[in-house]
């Protein structure tokens, strides 16, 4: 990969250890993928934030970078807990202290401690066509597909390296030729609830090959939350990182493979998921907010809870970003939810929180991404169900 003289000097260590290490990461990845050069980025979204995912080794690595500073707007992925209300979540103190050290390390590097999987709803909103280096697979799909910013699906260290250098190798989805659809999917059903969009994304991720770029045709929505749901489940089960759609202003590819998504595929996809039937007796936690809830989603949940109370034997946990929380609090939505026994947590991802060690066993969620990672990462039994059913299991 070609390096400018400034980049060469970074690599030699003239700008300190952190920048040098960051540049070594970018060069190794650039060479790996055959990138021609580095390009400037306008923002970063950094993964590798929860103590569950990076552990002591990740924390040690972060703390070794203390002479560095990020060059661009950088936000963080969710942590394993609400950074203020972790006691309320039942998080053990030794876990919490490690988690707080991780956030402090990122803060010293200049990243904003906005821990969320929806940076685009929380102060990190890239514009059309700009290059960014984002981790968090659901946000990567949203940025590439809905916002039309350009990012590969970065890992934790590579997103951090790009943030510290302010550049990323030019390959993959930074190149327009890799963003063109080769498969079209005609939607032949009126999708209503957000959870059905989650199923659509899951089916796309499971059906297509990893380097396919789908073109979704016939969606009857312009709703941010629904695009968020499609991308999250698509990326949880595959490495696909972009879709195009007629409603997003993309033009139909001229010749390509054609698939369709109808009611029978929707039902078949749901039926192939284990444990979607609910035995209300054994559910101990209902988690909504994967990806983090938008203001409107919180409002809808507050409306659904009107006249009901959360059951004593079930926890209803809602997850959102600090930014959205602040607005929801001002609008009275948070107090409406908490006054009937629900909890609104910030900063956290329940799939990364130590839920099974706290003692939870069976989680219900309306997100296929949470369903997937709750089983594989958090070690819980997970049940996938429409939002309204989730609320009705948790309350009466």
């Amino acid at each position: 990969m070609y390096l400018s003289s400034y980049e060469e000097r970074i690599l030699k260590g003239e700008y300190g250890y952190a920048k040098q290490k960051a540049m070594e990461i970018l060069v190794a990845l650039g060479d790996l993928y055959g990138a021609e050069k580095l390009i400037p980025i306008s923002s970063a979204q950094i993964a590798g934030v929860s103590y569950t995912s990076i552990g002591d080794e990740g924390l040690e690595w972060l703390e070794s970078l203390m002479d560095g500073q990020v060059e661009v707007l950088s936000t963080l992925n969710p942590a394993g807990m609400d950074l203020d209300r972790w006691r309320d979540m039942g998080i053990p103190i030794d876990y919490a202290s490690k988690q707080i050290r991780i956030i402090e390390a990122y803060s010293r590097l200049g990243a904003l401690p906005v821990c969320t999987c929806t940076p685009y709803l929380s102060g990190n909103l890239p514009t059309y066509g700009c290059h960014i280096a984002w981790a968090e697979s659901s946000a990567v799909v949203f940025a590439n597909s809905v916002l039309k910013a350009k990012t590969n699906r970065e890992g934790g260290p590579s997103a951090l390296a790009a943030a510290i250098v302010g550049r990323t190798p030019l390959y993959g989805l930074h190149l327009d030729e890799n963003r063109i659809s080769n498969v079209s999917i005609r939607i032949e059903i009126d999708l209503t609830d957000t959870w059905e969009y989650s199923v659509l994304g899951f089916w796309i991720g499971r059906t297509l090959k990893m380097d396919d770029v789908p073109f979704i045709e016939g969606l009857k929505t312009y709703d941010t939350d629904r695009f968020k749901a499609i991308g999250a489940s698509m990326a949880s089960i595959s490495s696909m990182s972009i879709f195009n759609a007629d409603v997003l202003g993309d033009s139909r590819p001229e010749s390509c493979e054609k698939l369709s998504f109808d009611r029978s595929i929707l039902m078949d996809t749901i039926e192939t998921l284990p444990d979607t039937s609910m035995d209300k007796g054994c559910v101990d936690i209902v988690c909504l907010g994967c990806p983090h809830l938008s203001l409107w989603e919180l409002k809808v949940i507050a409306n659904l809870l009107r006249g009901r109370r959360v059951r004593k034997d079930v926890n209803l946990w809602l997850f959102t970003s600090r930014a959205v929380y602040s607005v929801a609090e001002k609008c009275g939505i948070v107090s409406e939810i908490e006054s009937v026994g629900g909890k609104v947590y910030r900063d956290a991802c329940p799939a990364l929180a130590p839920l099974s060690s706290i003692g939870y066993k069976v989680m219900v969620t309306d997100s296929l991404k949470m369903w997937f990672y709750g089983r594989h990462l958090a070690g819980l039994e997970t049940i996938f169900s429409p939002t309204i059913d989730c609320i009705y299991v948790a309350s009466r």
Binding site: L32, I54, E60, G155, G156, P157, S158
Partner: protein, 130 residues
């Protein structure tokens, strides 16, 4: 014999090789406190990667694997160098964090466990000494 490779992370190392026939997930596949391979599905399970020139088809699995390589290096348990058939980002980033030479795409993939190798990371060359 000298074999040309693609240079990914520079540096020099020499030592005895350990060849894994299977791709390695450092997260869950290698014990970070001992350097022993613990992946049940890998025939080299129980072998130590510490201080060896680790030769393997490539990485697989969680990106946390990069941090595992870093931790192994901090405790003096990392391989001296790594040679892959085709490296993946987890291994490439891990090699940078750990500061160990990494080459891939060797012209000839003829390595066997127990060979004495010299790895010239900066030049992208591996020498089979014996």
């Amino acid at each position: 014999m000298r074999i040309k490779c693609r240079r990914l992370v520079g540096g020099y190392a020499e030592g005895y090789s350990l060849v894994s026939p299977e791709p390695i997930s450092f997260f869950g596949g290698v014990d970070p406190s001992t350097g022993l391979v613990i992946d049940r599905l890998n025939p080299i399970r129980g072998e130590s990667i510490s201080g060896r020139i680790l030769v393997f088809p490539g990485g697989k699995g969680s990106t946390v694997g990069s941090y595992i390589l870093y931790r192994l290096a901090k405790h003096g348990l990392a391989p001296k160098a790594m040679i892959c058939l085709e490296a993946d980002p987890v291994v490439a980033v891990g090699a940078v964090l750990a500061g160990i030479p990494l080459l891939d795409k060797p012209e000839y993939y003829i390595f066997k466990t127990g060979m004495y190798l010299r790895v010239y990371g900066d030049e992208g060359l591996v020498e089979i000494v014996s």
